[in-house]
């Protein structure tokens, strides 16, 4: 699946600002994204601590008909990192997922 076909696969983009999920597709999507983001970031943090790898800059998961990704981008200041992410109701490749947020 190429990146151009992401739009036709219920691609939903999210941002987290000041602890709030900003979504254009409704509260339920925002809640679903927040739940997966918190879960995946928690486990990414634990794995990073176990292997002494630091904090994950991005993380994604795949299900047969669902894909999820988030990325953290920091400008080096003391400000919290900018968090953006996406959910797609299809099994989209990791490269396309990552490319869709850049």
């Amino acid at each position: 699946m190429d990146a151009s076909s992401l739009n036709s696969q219920s691609f939903r983009r999210f941002e987290i600002q000041n602890g709030l999920v900003i979504s254009e597709t409704g509260q339920q999507d925002a809640d679903d994204f927040a739940a997966d983001f918190q879960g995946l970031r928690h486990f990414a943090g634990r794995i990073g601590a176990i292997l002494e790898l630091g904090e994950a800059g991005y993380a994604a998961l795949h299900e047969p008909e669902f894909s999820f990704i988030y990325t953290l981008s920091s400008d080096g200041s003391a400000q919290p990192p900018k968090i953006i992410g996406a959910m797609v109701s299809a099994n989209v490749s990791y490269n396309d997922l990552l490319g869709s947020l850049q």
């Binding site: 990073g48 176990i50 998961l61």
Partner: protein, 162 residues
């Protein structure tokens, strides 16, 4: 017997490790490490297996989701975990553009290595038919039930009745 089988699974993982810029690979059954070729101490890999298993259970806890894989991008390396039934393959790799190819390679490996994985899980049964195993087990039941006891030998208490 297990020593003659486990290396073949290890050898298969060694080949998979050459699929790309792979730093380490580990295969686990449920929460038990089968083979680890990771550049970390065993206790860290045990913790990794536990945490990856926890993450899978977390996302699947509602019973409606089926996790296929997770991919984590750290500053210098990526962690990829691919799930298939009770088997989990965890991989450390360097190049993000290889994530999808490596995921496919792991799935192919899991399809091809079913026999070696099964042999690693139950090495004592490998090479026997199910009939042979059932016959042998029935014959062995009585002999396994009787266990000899160590004789109490005390030279100072010979022929002493109490």
């Amino acid at each position: 017997m297990s020593h003659s089988i486990t290396p073949s699974l290890r050898a298969s993982l060694e080949r998979l490790k050459h699929a790309g810029a792979v730093n380490g690979i580990c295969i686990a059954w449920r929460r038990q490490i089968l083979v680890s070729l990771m550049p970390y101490e065993e206790f860290r890999i045990e913790q990794l297996v536990q945490t990856v298993s926890d993450s899978r259970e977390h996302f699947q806890s509602g019973g409606e989701r089926l996790l296929d894989s997770i991919w984590l991008g750290f500053p210098d390396v990526h962690v990829l975990a691919v799930f298939a039934d009770d088997i989990t393959v965890m991989m450390l790799h360097a190049r993000p553009e290889e994530a999808d190819f490596l995921t496919s390679a792991i799935k192919t490996f899991l399809g091809d290595a079913q026999l070696t994985i099964a042999a690693a899980l139950s090495p004592e049964n490998h090479g026997e038919t199910s009939d042979e195993r059932s016959d042998a087990s029935e014959d062995d039941v009585e002999s396994e039930e009787w266990t000899s006891e160590e004789p109490e030998i005390d030279p100072n208490r010979t022929n002493v009745l109490s």
